[in-house]
Amino acid sequence: MSKILVITSGKGGVGKTTTSASIATGLAQRGHKVAVIDFDVGLRNLDLIMGVERRVVYDFVNVVQGEANLTQALIKDKRIGNLYVLAASQTKDKDALTEEGVKKVLDGLKDDGFDFIVCDSPAGIEKGAQLAMYFADEAIVVSNPEVSSVRDADRMLGLLASKSYRAVNNMPSIKQHLLVTRYAPARAEAGEMMSIEDMMEILAVPLLGVIPESPAVLNASNSGQPVILDQESDAGQAYADAIARLLGEERPLRFLTVEKKGFFSRLFGN
């Protein structure tokens, strides 16, 4: 049984694509067959974050419009078996996506035996974002601890509850998860940043994970390696924890407190 997972946020730049890449990669590392789809038609970037930008021949819109089949358009990841990327079109108009077209592709992936289909939503609440979440079974709403991001996340949660296939057809609602990214424990402790408790109180959605602000994220995108592959890093480990929780395992939250530097590390640096 395939599960459709949407990564969404409303606001741009909060880490949807970074999260999509790491969630998809992490699920595949756990042995699941995973496809990750870029819904940002016209502004594709998932291919870069996944490091497959030079291997895109056919894209999502080509499949929707019948110019290529799924086998031709799915880019197989070279690092992890069972992981496939479907790039967005860079040239086509964003109106190229339709509800029927998206359904056709998702049904095709289900028939091919994919366990998880991860939909990387564009920013905003326009058509691309609506289609990315429309057929979802579960949603990961990504938010930074910052006012505009939290407000948009709340708006998105409302849309997930009212404007999806599940909502329109009176089916059990989309399972919602909150993923907080770019969390800086020191700033939260100093009262300069909303805490995880503050965000959970406002949004009232179960917490899937907290990704700390980390230089590893930029390093990862620079090199086209999803940050979850960097298990030395705090962000990579935090994504691995989120994957475990997504699969129903219990994991304590990490990286929420300021690391007290010991005398020697202060003396000798790190």
């Binding site: 939290v150 407000r151 709340d154 708006r155 409302g158 009212s162 100093a190 909303m194």
Partner: protein
């Protein structure tokens, strides 16, 4: 002021301010976006039609507003009648 703040210790807690502002605006926006609000334009139009059977009023004479006061939904109707009718 730098020196003074240094001795006073803490800076202003902006995280608390952010949380308070968000709680207010989000409560307001959730109320606005609730599906129950979708019937309001239709209700407004039908009320207008009914009243027009008895009194000629303008298109903007009926205002319907749904608010939330604690646990209670408050439906507010505001109907402006023309002067001569009001006098009769």
């Amino acid at each position: 002021m730098g020196l003074l703040n240094f001795f006073r210790g803490k800076k202003e807690n902006t995280a608390k301010l952010a949380k308070e502002r968000l709680q207010i605006i989000i409560a307001h926006e959730r109320a606005q976006n609730r599906p129950s609000h979708e019937f309001l334009p239709k209700l407004e139009k039908e009320l207008l039609d009914v009243i027009r059977r008895y009194v000629q009023i303008g298109d903007d004479a009926v205002k319907v507003k749904l608010d939330r006061d604690g646990d209670v939904d408050v439906l507010e109707l505001n109907i402006v009648l023309p002067d001569q009718v009001a006098k009769e």
